[in-house]
Amino acid sequence: MTGGRRKIGFALAVVVVLSSFGYLVYGGIGENLVFFHTPGELLAKGAQAYDRPYRLGGQVVPGTMTWNAEAVDLRFTMQDVDGQIVVHSTKAPPAMFREGQGVVVEGKLNRDGVFEASTVMVKHSNEYRPPADGHPKPEDTYRSLIRES
């Protein structure tokens, strides 16, 4: 009956390997989940919000954006109906970054309450929209850059 024993041993080994691997994967996922929140939701977490990566979605508060090109230093305030968070980043703002625009940032909340963003993205949809009247066309905005030739 060694065949049977060998089979049981093999099955046991497989179970052990699979379950320890599953445990590793499960733990790994738990540690690396990035939750998507609004500023208000993140603030509601209090001290729990520190030291974990988050994605934050909200709007740029008009009049709060400062972009220091020389120092490559971006700062703005993001808000939703429940709260505001100051965001700081050493990345360039996306080209169509506008005040009042919906944005998604990814990073960590510092203990001083400033959200340090490693990426700043304009919230966009891939769907086509007819050119809105309010938005100036790039060919008008950047007319002075067109080379004469």
Binding site: G28, L33, A69, A95, M96, P138, E139, S144
Partner: protein, 664 residues
């Protein structure tokens, strides 16, 4: 008119494929050869119909027939011709249409090659492949119908997604991906044919061997073309982000790679029969799952998915395939017993087993990380994503182990290894490993994963090259010829084996490129005025001028840069931002200067409206081109294994003789 033609072709394809499934199945039962033949005709007819439908769509796109729903969605008069044609696969409906073409082509070809040779197995395989076709044709006349009438027809359309019309690689990556993905349907179809007909020997494996290799080679190329596209277009300087779309293309590759190795174990040793069936079923299901993930909108949000019906079609199809194939495997489990057993722990089949274990674990990890956010959102309503660190932590150890094993397998014989012989063979690879490690440490590399990856690559590279060197030397001694003809003769003597080793060398090359560009990368983000420069890793990038250009289908803002090495001008670069009509944010278009030892990669991140300054992201990525080069070597290996020599695999129920290990 062209709309009606295309729509009719799709409806006819659905009807004929459905007929074919029934005709093949009933034909086998009733031993009615004419009925089985007519099922084969159904496969040929479907290819013709899909060709007509696809040509009709291309015609509609090129002639800007905006009364066709799909053309109105993705067409635009301003889009250049090349991008108009490839917008055939730029959106859901068109890509399903193109999928139908590829599937019907493969089905017809596979059926034609095996016609009259395989009896019930062939007929059932035809039924299975046509059955998959029924699903896709159903999508084409139902939820993914591209032929809807738009009335009144608009004068112009929005054009394809700008990301997809910003680079020529979009004409390459999707077709390669579909050719690879859909190619997996053929081995799956013959596996189902084997299960249904009860002809469970290795016939289905041998018949589909070439298909698997070809589909795998194309899928390899497709995945790397996707990486290359992401590197050239997305502007962050990376080539892999563990994005669900990327994972979707990668998972079937992993299981197919496992399958190619485990299939050899079955052919040589009669082991792993149930396992091989399961792997090819898994590979096929993963291709469908991948399409579901990328095409149902479920990734952006579970809600986007539930808005359209197409997601449910895919889920239902996946469920049907899984239930039916697992029931078939379970029903035949007693007949699928292994007729051999593992003789010795130190043998090539053991290495293949470990390889399969690792690749399965790899697939499982990627699958879990990809599906977790969807499940979490569906169950708990919380939006989460699984960060790249998870994937990296979990898969890097697997990757380096696989990289090591690529060298071990070729050095071990089937069945039982002679330990003295094995030790003798490991000498040069071990030396290569140690030398690489010492050199890398001396050059200042301290990244642990980098050190491991480079030295394992050296080990495996040496091991695989050694196989060619020894074989060539033996032939040369025997035949007294020169090196090159001896090498060619060696490869021709066993193209499957040596093609495999070439593919190994390609993968090792890709691994070297990936390691170099990840651990040796350096970057700087800085704002400069005209005339000022940024210096990084021996390069000086001088910003000359900001410019704008009003092009027919877009508006471009670019920066003219001069690249200097040691104060000598070596070239110019022009990273841009492309603004497409109707889309808010522009598409970053990096400028890349590729050299074998490193790439210089520059992005225009931001600029002042008056042109007084530009913020540039300058990245130096050593060795990154070897990722792409490696994929060509992989594909070449697959090609060699397919067409490399005399020993063609014919359809024959007789098991090949015992393996003859070559004297080294």
């Amino acid at each position: 008119m062209i709309r009606i033609l295309g729509l009719s072709a799709c409806i006819a394809a659905l009807a004929i494929a459905s007929y074919g499934v029934v005709a093949a199945a009933v034909g086998v039962r009733r031993r009615d050869a004419a009925l089985v033949r007519s099922a084969r005709s159904a496969a040929y007819t479907n290819f013709a119909l899909m060709a007509v439908a696809n040509l009709a769509m291309v015609y509609g796109l090129v002639t800007h027939d905006f009364s066709i729903d799909y053309v109105a969605q993705v067409g635009s008069r301003a889009t250049p011709l090349y991008f108009t044609i490839i917008s055939l696969w730029s959106s859901l409906e068109g890509s399903i249409l193109f999928w139908g073409l590829v599937l019907s082509f493969y089905t017809a070809l596979a059926v034609w090659i095996t016609r009259g040779k395989l009896g019930a197995l062939g007929a059932y395989a035809n039924a299975a492949m046509l059955g998959v076709g029924v699903f896709f044709y159903l999508l084409l006349v139902g939820p993914a119908n591209p032929w809807g009438l738009v009335s009144p027809a608009p004068m112009d359309g929005p054009g394809p997604n700008p990301l997809l019309q910003n680079h020529w690689l979009m004409g390459v990556h999707p077709p390669l991906l579909y050719l690879g993905y859909v190619g997996m349907t053929v081995p799956f179809g013959f596996a189902v044919g084997a299960l249904l007909s009860g002809r469970l020997d290795d016939t289905w494996l041998r018949v589909t061997h070439r298909w698997t290799v070809a589909a795998w080679g194309l899928l390899s190329l497709a995945i790397v073309a996707g990486m290359w596209w992401s590197y050239e277009v997305l502007g962050w300087g990376g080539w892999w982000a563990w994005d669900p779309v990327e994972n979707a293309s990668f998972m079937p590759w992993l299981t197919a790679t496992a399958f190619m190795h485990s299939a050899m174990v079955q052919e040589r040793r009669g082991l792993l029969r149930v396992w091989n069936m399961s792997l090819i079923i898994a590979t096929f299901v993963l291709t469908i799952l991948g399409t579901f993930l990328t095409r149902s909108g479920i990734i952006s949000s579970v809600h986007a998915f539930s808005e359209g019906p197409i997601g449910m079609y895919f889920l239902a199809f996946i469920a049907v395939v899984l239930v039916v194939s697992l029931a078939l495997v379970a029903g035949r489990s007693s007949e699928l017993r292994s007729d051999g057993h593992l003789d010795n722990m130190v043998s090539r089949e053991t290495v293949f087993l470990v390889n399969n274990l690792l690749l399965t674990a790899f697939t499982f990890t990627v699958l879990l990380g990809t599906m977790f956010p969807l499940v979490a959102e569906a169950l708990r309503g919380e939006k989460v994503s699984v960060g790249a660190p998870f994937f990296n932590q979990m898969t890097l150890p697997i990757c380096v182990l696989l990289l090591f094993l690529i060298g071990v397998g070729p050095m071990l014989p089937w069945r039982v290894a002679n330990m003295d012989e094995f030790k003798r063979r490991t000498r040069i690879p071990a030396l290569a490993l140690v030398v690489t490690l010492v050199v890398a440490l001396t050059l200042g590399l301290r990244d642990v994963w980098g050190l491991i990856a480079f030295s394992f690559a050296a080990w495996s590279g040496a091991a695989n090259i050694q196989e060619f060197a020894h074989g060539t030397a033996a032939r040369r001694r025997a035949g007294g010829g020169r090196w090159l003809p001896s090498l060619a003769g060696l490869i021709r003597s066993n193209p499957q084996r040596y093609g495999g080793y070439i593919a190994h060398l390609g993968l090792i090359t890709t691994a070297i490129g990936m390691t170099g560009s990840s651990v040796l990368q350096s970057d700087i983000l800085a704002t400069v005025r005209p005339g000022e420069s940024i210096e990084l890793s021996g390069y000086t990038v001088r910003f000359d001028e900001l410019w704008a250009d009003n092009q027919s289908h877009r508006f471009a803002v670019g920066a003219d840069l001069t690249v200097l090495i040691a104060n000598r001008e070596v070239g110019r670069m022009d990273p841009r931002l492309n603004f497409y009509a109707g889309r808010d944010e522009p598409i970053m278009t990096p400028s890349v200067r590729s050299r074998p030892h490193k790439d210089l990669y520059v992005n225009l991140s931001a600029f002042e409206q008056d042109g007084s300054s530009a913020t540039l992201h300058v990245i130096v990525e050593p060795l990154v081109v070897w990722i792409w080069i490696g994929s060509f070597i992989v594909a070449f290996g697959a090609l060699v294994s397919l067409v490399g020599g005399r020993r063609t695999r014919t359809v024959s129920p007789i098991r090949r003789g015992a393996p003859v290990e070559q004297a080294v």
